[in-house]
């Protein structure tokens, strides 16, 4: 994937971050992402992200589990190998409720977690570019993608005036690659762009 140039502004308080997000967006800049140490409620709306449909996926996985359990058990107990258990009906629905329920939950949970990992591209041995190491500690890191027309210095000054405690410019790969966190593969450069 191509490398892109980003302007990074770090905020140390979410109360400062929110107005800054609003201002940056209304000024016409494209926010690539905001990296936060915890789930900041309302930030997704402030960034204009749409609601996630993960829970819908969960529902679909759940009913898949229900149908799997119901169809398998009923096929086994009525067609494949009908067992005579004390002369009771072969189609013993109440007795199957526990297993049907458990499989519903199992399918929904496993499916959702796998979907979550797929959507967020999370897996062991996956490495991504981190714009700031303190983004998982105490900094809220706003990353703005630069276009040809972006004046980097102006943007940095703009971020600082809106409360950013630290700003810099990074050229980075935005996807993920297989890698180890102890080895710097340097698929990105982290240096100041000197205005010519």
């Amino acid at each position: 994937m191509a490398k892109k140039k980003f302007v990074v502004g770090c905020f140390d308080d979410e109360a400062v971050l929110f107005p800054a997000v609003k201002k940056v967006r209304t000024s016409g800049y494209k926010i690539h992402d905001v990296y936060t140490p915890f789930a900041v409620h309302g930030l997704d709306h402030a960034l204009g992200l749409r609601e996630t449909s993960l829970h819908t996926a969960g529902f679909i996985y759940g009913i898949t589990g229900t149908t799997t359990a119901l169809s398998c058990i009923s096929w086994i107990f009525t067609l494949d190998w009908p067992l005579n258990i004390g002369g009771k009906p072969h189609f013993a629905l109440p007795a199957w409720v526990p297993i049907i329920f458990e499989l519903t939950v199992l399918f929904a949970a496993v499916g959702m977690v796998l979907t979550f990992c797929y959507l967020c591209q999370l897996a062991p041995f996956v490495k991504k570019h981190h714009f700031h190491p303190r983004a998982t500690d105490d900094l809220f890191v706003m990353v703005i993608e630069c276009t040809d027309k972006t004046n980097v210095e102006d943007l940095k000054a703009f971020l600082s005036s809106n409360g950013a405690v630290e700003t810099d410019v990074q050229v980075a790969e935005e996807g993920w690659w297989l890698g180890r966190y102890d080895k710097d593969e340097m698929m990105f450069e982290n240096k100041e762009i000197v205005a010519a």
């Binding site: 929110f18 990296y35 915890f38 960034l47 398998c72 190998w81 967020c120 983004a135 966190y181």
Partner: protein, 480 residues
């Protein structure tokens, strides 16, 4: 926008004037420090117990179930008692993380990570007992329904024992996923502060390349909420199904409809007691008194006195029904085999009553709920009591059945039965010691999320908000 205001009347959940960085420092400190001598001692004792358990199981597998003192009458003894006991303990974690999340109980954030870990380890221990009780453990996979060359001969889907297979394995899987998905962001925190290459590499693998992107957090929130919603009925179903192992039989003392709610209450009761045992130690050893506060301990003690009393009501209801049903077998089991102090196992019934029903009543007193020594002592007592409960249910119902010629009074475990039980303690604590050393024992991101609402430093400033005019307050909050 989340309202950052909470009444000052509520106790802070995080003591001290902390900021986000301080939270990271405090929780990651034990991971980055060298283990103490105490840790090594505890860890080696656990490993020794585990090895003894492995040897006990080796004897059982090699020489057969005859290594245990079970007989034809008392076919379930220590093994199934221990199974139900461990499964019960494994209920608090998911209860704390799922049900209390849905009920918006802020105090869950301090204890959920450790409680979930405890759940997973307890379920691992529980699973050993039915598996090895099968005798020919190398055929344990026969309990799974898979197309086979024996017909195919399927498992019996109408049997509560098979429901157990599904319930316990689903519970274990879902708890593990719930726990690990919460751990990913915290592993990323540890990774980004790592100071050695190995540490950076291992936590890099464990954190799945987490960056903290807003979209990822949004999905993460949705995932946690739905998993909580799924786990809530799941946790209730698991012990319900365990109780079906007994309730769907025709043995007096087991054949009762009260079992599902009674077992679930008992499970929460013993689970919280085990959380208390561990948290009282963990908060002391890792100096986490600011995060697992006395308020957390008190909240859990309230749950203990509530569920203990529910269990007490269940015991009395059983006794009442033993008389009211006028069924002589029921009456004999409840009023002679159990409640009569001088019957062969009467001591276990009264031990259970004293530990589970009478002694937790001490927690009606606020002073006692907030006393660490009393809490720790009571947590042990409750777990002894809950072990007795399962022993009472299983053995007192079995030892005198419908046919007096097959009555058996003699049941005391062999050293290998006890060794197996001790071995699961070894497994549990080995896992827990490793967890406490290498994992963030408190959910870092979740603490940060509630810090500005419930942190002491922020709470003290809320007096200003309370004096504010309503219009100003609305204006300030609506600013974003």
């Amino acid at each position: 926008m989340h309202l950052k205001y909470e009444s000052q009347l509520r106790e802070p959940l995080v003591y001290g004037d902390k900021n986000y960085h301080q939270v990271t420092e405090d929780i990651v400190r034990p991971i980055e420090a060298k283990p103490t001598k105490l840790w090594y001692i505890g860890f080696y004792i656990s490993v020794a117990l585990l090895l003894f358990g492995v040897y006990s199981v080796y004897r059982e597998v090699t020489y057969g179930i005859g290594q245990w003192n079970l007989n034809k009458t008392i076919g379930w003894g220590w093994d199934i008692t221990n199974f139900v006991w461990w499964v019960g303990i494994g209920h608090a974690g998911t209860l704390i993380s799922a049900i209390l999340l849905l009920f918006r109980q802020g105090w869950r954030t301090g204890v959920n990570r450790a409680a979930e870990a405890m759940t997973i380890f307890a379920v691992m221990c529980a699973g050993q007992f039915p598996i090895f009780h099968m005798g020919r453990v190398w055929m344990a996979f026969f309990v799974l329904p898979y197309p086979n060359t024996r017909g195919p001969l399927w498992v019996n889907f109408n049997s509560p024992l098979l429901w157990d297979v599904f319930a316990i394995s689903t519970y274990f899987t879902v708890s593990l996923l719930f726990w690990y998905s919460g751990l990913i962001p915290d592993f990323a925190t540890v990774r980004d502060r790592a100071f050695t290459k190995l540490r950076k590499r291992l936590y890099g693998i464990a954190s799945f390349g987490w960056t903290g992107s807003t979209k990822h957090w949004q999905r993460h929130e949705s995932l946690s909420l739905v998993l909580a919603g799924l786990s809530t009925p799941l946790v209730l179903s698991v012990h319900t199904i365990v109780s079906f192992d007994f309730a769907t039989s025709v043995i007096p003392g087991w054949h009762t409809t009260i079992f599902p709610p009674y077992f679930v209450a008992g499970a929460i009761f013993s689970g919280f007691a085990m959380v208390q045992t561990l948290m009282v130690i963990v908060r002391k050893v890792f100096q986490m008194e600011d995060y697992v506060t006395i308020g957390h301990i008190e909240a859990m003690n309230k749950v203990i006195v509530l569920t203990g009393s529910i269990v007490g009501v269940a015991y009395l209801t059983e006794l009442f029904m033993g008389w009211y049903s006028q069924n002589k077998y029921e009456g004999y089991t409840f009023w002679y085999s159990r409640a009569y102090l001088f019957s062969p196992y009467g001591w276990s019934y009264w031990g259970m009553m004293a530990c589970n029903v009478l002694s937790p009543q001490i927690f009606w007193f606020r002073k006692m709920r907030r006393n660490l020594f009393v809490t720790f002592f009571m947590s042990i007592i409750v777990n002894i009591g809950m072990w007795f409960e399962r022993f009472v249910i299983i053995v007192t119902s079995l030892y005198r059945d419908y046919l007096p010629s097959s009555w058996s009074v003699y049941y005391s475990p062999t050293i290998w039965e006890v060794g197996f039980y001790a071995g699961t303690f070894g497994l549990f604590f080995t896992c827990f010691f490793l967890f406490a050393k290498y994992f963030p024992v408190i959910a870092i991101a979740e603490i940060k999320y509630v810090l500005k609402t419930t942190g002491e430093g922020y709470k003290n400033k809320m007096g200003n908000i309370e004096e504010q005019k309503l219009e100003d307050f609305v204006h300030e909050q609506a600013h974003h």
